[in-house]
Amino acid sequence: MNRSGITRKLIWAAVALCVCVLIFAIIAYRPAIATVTRPDPRLFDPALVARGASLARLGNCVSCHQSAGGRPYAGGYPVKTPFGTIYGSNITPDPATGIGKWSPAAFRRAMRQGVGRDGSHLYPAFPYTHYANVTERDLAALYAFLMTRPAVRSVPPANTMIPPLGFRPLLAGWKLLFFRPQRITPDASQSAAWNRGRYIGETLAHCTACHSPRGLFQQEKRGAQAYDGGWSGGWYAPPINAHSPAVQAWTLERLDAYFRTGLSTAHAAAAGPMGSVTHNLARAAPTDVRALAIYYAWQMRDAPAARLEPPLPDRQALASQRYPDGARLYEGACAVCHEPGAAMIVAGRPALPLGTPLHEDNPRDTIQIVLKGLHPPVSPRGPYMPAFADALDDRQVAEIVAYLQMRHGTGPVWQDLEKDVAKARKEGE
């Protein structure tokens, strides 16, 4: 081929590329929606605001939109992803630094399509893939709620994304590939409460965001793999479907109590990210929380423990023999609260083997509890555990975890514990 042939091909390739970029730009482009003056909070119907307050609790909005020690909804919370850290934005009605100048239409578009008022695409760390199916009525209530919060002047830190992922229009490509909002149609064979629970769970509460596995581009896996377990903030969110490794059945009553109080006396206290989830559910409308419990009890109806709660082994002698260091560490650091005769056990808090972490197929949750401890999830009164991250080194934590699994575990034997402890320290809240 002669030079002009190559040049022609190059010109055609360049033209094709420009056309693709043009098409992409057209697809990615979203116009800005005009600003409005900040709505007068007194003009919103108090009943609508109250409804929005409960919906915001179900949606756990404040967890990502408030920094430690900051004001509610003023943003600043770091969400760590494999692609960088994204900071929750200020969604108080501050005109300058929050969403005070957003119209209801701008708010709806952000929630439904993941597009900001100024037309920029939003990272799916903000789970609009779920909010896309929130009803108009509920969106109006959420808008009313947010617009009646105290306005806080606060600018969150800038996101630190791995280049070129800081270039937001690329998200249009992600949406093209993975954003498939599907209408939720009621299932007539199920109760109204079940349907309500499904609606809340799949949209506002966005449970699959933590409890489902994700693909290479962090897209949630759906269909048969939904609720098969996932990761959040360094903790493992176990399967909450037929593959639930819980050794005690998640009955409706237990799940409802867990959501409302942060504690299931048949399992354990809500730890890690579930702490803030239950903190908010405890403040949502109780009928909605119960509906959520109905739906997820249904999701786990075929889990092994739902059919038969297995006898729980205590292989203390064997575990002490195999892991003598772990046994001594456990005796001095843990037994005072976790062994029979401990005050909290006498008072009815669940024994260690009942909790799901020791039965999961990976040790991450057990490790994180030992490292980070537990703060009472729902109110200042509640289950508490001190953090051992500074007191014990990686090998010691691994020893204790190995001892505990040998003693009480029912799942596959965990390997490389010390490495996972080191990893857990780096990740996690």
Partner: protein
């Protein structure tokens, strides 16, 4: 047999390695500053430093310490020659019954070894694991802010100025 290094001195002990450090400090080594408050890691009266980290000595088995260095309040200074955290607490008269104060001072020392310019929020968060029932909180905070200045720093956005 286990070797324990506390305040720079190493002692060999023939004690069940599950024994929490607090009991060894008080009963075997005669170091009474760290106190029994709950034995559950909830109140911080037992706080000491292990390699510069504040820990609850009531739930730390001595077998876990290894060669790490334990520092108790006795290692920060004496009545005749108090260390700067102790001097700051004495200056502010930051005590009523005094039972929680050694734990407070150990925790404060741990904070100041990390940073001498914490923010007010970081200061309060760092001290939060230690409880005081007498309500001496204001003076304790004043003492730690003073100690930060004595170490060449100072609390940022301090709720009360160091006078």
């Amino acid at each position: 047999m286990i070797d324990l290094t506390v305040n720079g001195a190493t002692t060999r002990l023939d004690i069940d390695t599950a024994t929490p450090l607090l009991y060894v400090l008080r009963d075997d080594l005669g170091l009474h500053a760290a106190k029994f408050g709950c034995g559950l890691g909830q109140c911080g009266a037992c706080t000491v430093l292990v390699d510069d980290q504040p820990v609850f000595s009531c739930v730390l088995p001595i077998g876990a310490i290894g060669t790490r260095k334990v520092t108790t309040v006795e290692g920060l200074g004496t009545a005749a020659k108090p260390g700067d955290v102790q001097r700051a607490f004495l200056h502010e008269q930051a005590a009523q019954c005094g039972y929680c104060i050694p734990g407070m001072m150990a925790r404060a020392e741990g904070l100041l070894r990390k940073t001498v310019t914490p923010t007010e929020d970081e200061l309060r968060t760092a001290m939060a694991p230690s409880l005081c029932r007498c309500g001496t909180h204001m003076r304790i905070l004043r003492a730690v802010r003073r100690a930060a200045v004595m170490r060449g720093g100072g609390v940022v956005d301090a709720a009360e100025p160091v006078t």
